[in-house]
Symmetry: C2
Amino acid sequence: MNITDVAREAGVSIATVSRVVNNNDYPVRPETRERVLDAVRRLGFRPNDLARGLLQKRTRTVGLIVPDLANPYYPEIARGVEDAASAELYAVVFCNTDRRADKSEHYVDTLLQKRVDGIIIAGGGTDFTHASTAFAEFGAPVVFIGRHRAGGHSVQIDNVAAARGATAHLAALGHREIAFVTGPLTLTSVQDRLAGYRAGLEAAGLGWDDRLVREGDFGERSGYTATQELLKHKPTAIFAANDLMGAGVLDRLEDDGVRVPQDVSIVGFDNTFLAALHHISLTTINQPRREMGRLALELLLERLDGRTAPVRRLTEPSLVVRDTTGPPR
Amino acid sequence: MNITDVAREAGVSIATVSRVVNNNDYPVRPETRERVLDAVRRLGFRPNDLARGLLQKRTRTVGLIVPDLANPYYPEIARGVEDAASAELYAVVFCNTDRRADKSEHYVDTLLQKRVDGIIIAGGGTDFTHASTAFAEFGAPVVFIGRHRAGGHSVQIDNVAAARGATAHLAALGHREIAFVTGPLTLTSVQDRLAGYRAGLEAAGLGWDDRLVREGDFGERSGYTATQELLKHKPTAIFAANDLMGAGVLDRLEDDGVRVPQDVSIVGFDNTFLAALHHISLTTINQPRREMGRLALELLLERLDGRTAPVRRLTEPSLVVRDTTGPPR
DNA sequence: CTGAAAGCGCTTACAG
DNA sequence: CTGAAAGCGCTTACAG
């Protein structure tokens, strides 16, 4: 069942069917249009997007590459991308790399062969210069979320401002011994958060203390173990570079009988699902992830036709105060 | 840059290029093959899947429709589908319906126009007979996850056995007043869980007590409010039809100073991310969601060519005992 | 082993 | 306002 069948059924040429189905401003006599629409309905005709894409050189499809959709950080981003895409009549193909180079390359190949109109790459940790070059050759734009890469478009929050804000919040409550559990220091976003933490300390007239900084790996367990060591140096507040580690910090404190926030305050980062759980109720930094996904998709579509200089869009972080922060004793 | 360019570069016909690129067992002289592969590399040629799909009548793409990827139940399913798909060189287009009929229809249209080879629909609550018929017309299979629908392929856990097992676990610990917070009773999976709960009570020689059963909506809040009422009837254990409500139950008990599991035990359902959090550490029923996604994709691919009777695949639930269950006082 | 040619299902100048 | 025809980039009988 194709356009030829519809044309025969309606007694017109396939050109006319095409014009009616595409519903552009091309002039078609009202009666003819009706006849075609009737045939379309009777036959349940749906134009083949493959044929269309072949001709028009665009597929109304974009790729979304994430490290791992099962990580609670990514689903909101995916939703944002997908929401915006479907509003623009685009479809989204998604891919999980598990941060493995071989998988990334496999997906880049797949997406390229499918001639997606562009791709969005969320999350850091893997090298995507390969992808950027390959897509550039095809004239398809690439937008990164949560990382900035020289020469690429990107959407991310202002990590420096966010971490500065979290630190300032704690300082304003009266804390002077503020510890920080970082994420993997190879990530630019983590480096930025560390810089923001440092800036926050300075702004509050507090000194930097190496012993109060521990590198984590974004896993709950690493927040737990980092806290074990940090407790030796008696911080009154612990800032974790993501919520999951924040939950680990909370765990360790409760296991030790340290009350939160009376004895020690905690601030997380991301405002994922888990921070909002009544049981954890973690004060945290909100990253508008759905918004970021949406922005990335829009940025992508704007770049579809036209080589433009790299655009870097910063979104606004905001502090969400819940039950894990209060003044020190 | 297309197959013609490669053919010119290698000094052969496009037919030969096609044969080499597709690397099937069609005989090509080794030197010729080399010459073509060189040209492919030099030019960075990637065959256009649109043209291929148009000819071969298959796109190596499947659709995945979920209510809401941001709901922690779905990402694992999505990963399972995607993992299996990429292993089979398939791509996955994903769609969120928010359980809205208009969105569902929009996606069904989109996927049909893209000529996906089949679709997987996860989650209940919306009517998809429309989709089933439309896809049937195109000869594309549909597989449901987590719901059984007369006439469709499906993958789900044995909800009856799962709920029976949870109830048996509590009864074995010595509980005799076991309450149940259901999900929306319109869902067949919830009806099955209720049946399993009833069967579990009977098997343990316990009677049914209407006052110990409350309908929830799968939200954390509804677990909280249901518990408020249930407490009047002094249950020693509360079984919730999903983890999120289980967390709500836990909340309410803690707010009332009821100790878990010393005073009241709790069992959740799904074994989502949140049940594993150290803080919640909820005894729950594991649904092998990633496995279910994988199974669904495989079931789909097996049905690609060939109308077969509906296949219903049941996966094995398992009890994950954590810290919210123990003997009654 | 290799190539010329038809054709997948559309869109879009071009002609009328 | 309508249609005939070319062409998007491939695969695949068919012929040699």
